[in-house]
Symmetry: C2
Subunit: 542 residues, 2 copies
């Protein structure tokens, strides 16, 4: 089960409920139900049967798709129930043979994606008013229990043997990779000593004790399970603050309209160009609904999301991404104004939350991003967020061909980062008054944008080509690992949240452990899982 | 320069200004001055000349000692100036050949110790009223600039070529290991794009631009440097809030009076026993001063500090530490009451801050700690903090021999963790009202302590021996790496601070990078530093 680097088919992230293999998505009035029913022989890659509702990336891609569609396509939904369609097993977490046979880079990106999906469950509750109940109708171990604690409430069917557990550390010498440890102590606020005991007992904790320790909210006997689930579902329905809005079907992305990517494998640089809307914003929310998912605020951002995932999983050797924008800035500002004005509408709200999630995906992508503002570029409002999310902004200082950037209400906190602040707020931690000044300024030419603190470097016409070329060459020549650690440290100044803890602290430790011989060496626990040999550890504590 | 595991002399952490090799510590009225003057041939271990004021652990042990002594032995000091005794070089950071030839575990522990020392500089400013000025009279690179940004203010002598720099990522494929990236964006609140540019330019940033970017506070020409340092020193003196208090000489620790450690290399378990004071507290602060550093609140905690450092550096294979206490709980409570009552006094304040720092050292030590409360134990007040810092507390439930624990004012927030909360506050995040209830309860037998939420497991007389034995065996059998990552994730629930970011986020990323072939492999940048070959990187971004 050695780490393989063999070429795989590229991962594709688009799917549709008609094609789901592993989840049953059903609706009963305001209640959506997602039942996990993983098909053993339908793993994304060959070589690991997905036994016992264990999952791989393919299973999680369907889950992420389902959550997105519930939000856009089902405005009537006010509560989600997550459960298993299998008997006696809820979910046994990420498939261990899949992990054991994956490259380090794949493992890390896999965990990042599943973490994002769990956070989408929580965002759906907090921002869209769709709280979730986990109906744990069988053993939930590892990633299975992590899925449960990403829901608002957990009911466990107590048949005397069913347990929730984190067997990762004792059995595999790794950590629960999907935010589990952080959610134990920071979300469910379980006492750290009990969390410690729980996370080191491979067989987990059952019924009554699971309730006492705060691991689940209720553990009725199996015969009363359905009733308890029903009651809690009704409770969540009553609490739901879902806003009214029209449905929007998410059509297949089709040919890319708004996001183009050019790859240069030799220089390890990609150029991502995002286009402004072709037209002014719709006149009303009804008109937006009529446009359907071809609307710029959905199509363009879904394309960007798909492009970022493609870069992460299918283009590992790309180190630096140039971010460019083109098109009519006035159109962006018109769309931004429309979205800001109609934020209380349920559908518009989902559009804005989609943009927010995609921008967070950019913040968390382990590539260096340099934004390039040149004549014809269009870093305005929501597209300016791309430049603010980038590690640097180069803006041409050319008196003969003016370059501008512009702010809009979408830069004022509607699209917060994982730290809870706007990108402008994070940028100007030293002097928060600059945020409002920049917002008031609106459109800025290069000298004003420099003065405002938006620009990293502003080479003139003569220097531009050389300076940009050298900047990309230099960046692409640096150790990818050092860049990842550096960017993870510099991108999220200011307050920390459960989300930044999960991606900053927990993921970093997990990545470290995923490299250690005690886990992935020849005699490591992850390598030897399922084999008769016992792992051998280097006992040095570090 | 491959990683060696050869047996070294154990590291000793006690020193004294009379024996300093690398620092000149001088006093001029209320100003203490620490001038770095590293002796090339006096490294802690052979094999790496400490050129250009580069440092190893031995240099940092002296720095930590100096800071401690300024606080205890020099109540007249109100400001610290850190500078270099060498010409044209302030400090070039951690010695790279030392890092390249160290084991992973040593590198990680070395960085942890230097991080603690930098935080002590900041604590000295915030809590003791001794702000610090860094007089950068020559190039400050890597750890040299990190030392500078741990000070409150930085003056750079601008001779046209002197720079501050973080060459770690571009030259060595690692991160600045002593909190540098976090302090750039979170302490000095430098814009993230400028921090990004700064951290990737090996040659660094000079004079005027360093001021513009916020990297230093002032960069006068060399001829006006002394004057600028003098002016800023006077400014800091005027701001100092140092409290009056008696001096206390820190005598050599000598034979251990209060902390005993027993090592069992076979089971990889250590037993650390801390004793209560032998007598009641002194009647007055004057009496405390007369006791000198043999006073329990200093001697016992300095012994604990030394023991923890010994465990970290000299006992790498110890995985689990049993924490026991013995002695008269009433004496602890009397000392605690004395310290709490006299907290406004300068000397008492330093004693309490020492206890705080040592407890933080425990929180951050990568060993599993299980506290054992048995008949005769003494987990009261400040010693109860040991149990609250531990990963678990086992308390014997024996009706024939009562076991008690007790709270005191020292549990009420005087000894905060790195997250800014008390250990009780962190424990009871789910229900903060429990903190006050526990504080009011005072002395508790086992059933009450269980009810209060202080106890992880309370085996009775019959089960105790077996249960404890099995708990230690099981813990010691688990992967040291998984335990380190797990404990780092569970110990610090609640708010994050710059300190938790440094130890949680930045250190975890650095540890990850310190394992990666791009840094430490045969062709890694750290391995090849100073050699003619160029490093070869695996370009996969992770």
């Amino acid at each position: 089960m050695a780490e393989t680097n063999q070429a795989h088919e590229p991962v594709r992230f688009e799917t549709h409920p008609d094609r789901y293999v592993h989840w049953n998505l059903t609706f009963e009035g305001p209640v959506a139900k997602l039942a996990m029913d993983v098909k053993e022989d339908k793993g994304l890659r060959p070589g690991y049967p997905l036994k016992l509702n264990s999952y791989d990336l393919g299973v999680d891609i369907e889950l992420a798709d389902a959550l997105q569609r519930i939000r856009f396509e089902h405005p009537e939904v006010k509560t989600l129930v997550v459960t298993s369609a299998k008997d006696r097993i809820f979910c046994s977490g990420a498939n261990i043979y899949m992990l054991g046979s994956s490259t380090h880079a794949f493992k890390v990106n896999f965990c990042k994606f599943t973490n994002e999906t769990r956070l989408y469950l929580e965002e759906m509750s907090a921002e869209s008013g769709i709280p979730s109940l986990c109906a744990v109708n069988g053993t939930a171990s590892g990633g299975g229990y992590e899925l449960a604690i990403a829901c608002d409430e957990i009911v466990l069917a107590d048949d005397g043997s069913t347990a929730v557990s984190f067997p990762e550390a004792p059995l595999l010498a790794v950590l629960p990779g999907t935010g589990g440890l952080t959610r134990l102590v920071d979300k469910r606020k379980i006492r750290r000593d009990l969390a410690d005991a729980f996370s080191t007992v491979a067989e987990g904790v059952r019924g009554k004790r699971a309730v006492e320790w705060g691991l689940v909210d209720e553990a009725p006997p199996k015969a009363k399970f359905d009733e308890a689930v029903k009651k809690r579902t009704e409770g969540l329905l009553a609490k739901s603050k879902r806003r009214a809005g029209k449905a929007m079907k998410l059509a297949p992305l089709g040919d890319r309209q708004f996001v183009a990517i050019e790859l240069d494998p030799k220089t390890r640089v990609a150029t991502l160009t995002m286009k402004a809307p072709n037209d002014k914003a719709p006149a009303s929310v009804d008109d937006l609904a009529k446009l359907g998912s071809s609307a710029w605020c959905v199509q363009a951002w879904r394309e960007l999301d798909d492009t970022l995932l493609d870069l992460r999983f299918n283009q590992p050797n790309i180190g630096v991404v140039a971010i460019k924008t083109t098109g009519n800035a006035e159109n962006v500002l018109a769309w931004d104004a429309f979205l800001a004005k109609n934020r209380e509408d349920g559908l518009v709200r989902e559009c804005v939350l989609l943009m927010k999630r995609v921008l967070k995906r950019l913040d968390l992508t382990a590539k260096s991003f340099f934004a390039l503002a040149e004549p014809g570029s269009c870093f305005a409002g929501s597209l300016l967020e791309l430049a603010l999310a980038a590690d640097r902004l180069y803006m041409k200082d050319d008196p003969d061909a003016e370059v501008t950037v512009a702010t809009s209400p979408m830069n004022a906190g509607v699209l917060p980062m994982a730290n809870g602040l706007s990108r402008l707020g994070t940028r100007f931690l030293a002097d928060p008054s600059r945020v409002n000044r920049v917002l008031e300024q609106g459109v800025m030419g290069t000298p004003d944008a420099v003065k405002a603190g938006l620009v990293t470097f502003a080479p003139d016409d003569i220097d531009w080509d050389d300076e940009i070329r050298i900047a990309f060459e230099e960046r692409a020549s640096m150790s990818p690992d050092a860049m990842t650690g550096m960017e993870a440290s510099l991108r999220f100044a200011g307050p920390e949240t459960m989300e930044t803890k999960i991606f900053g602290r927990l993921s970093a430790w997990q990545n470290w452990i995923f490299q250690r011989p005690n886990a992935v060496g020849e005699k490591g626990a992850l390598t030897l899982y399922g084999k008769p040999e016992r792992p051998e550890f280097n006992w040095s504590r570090t």
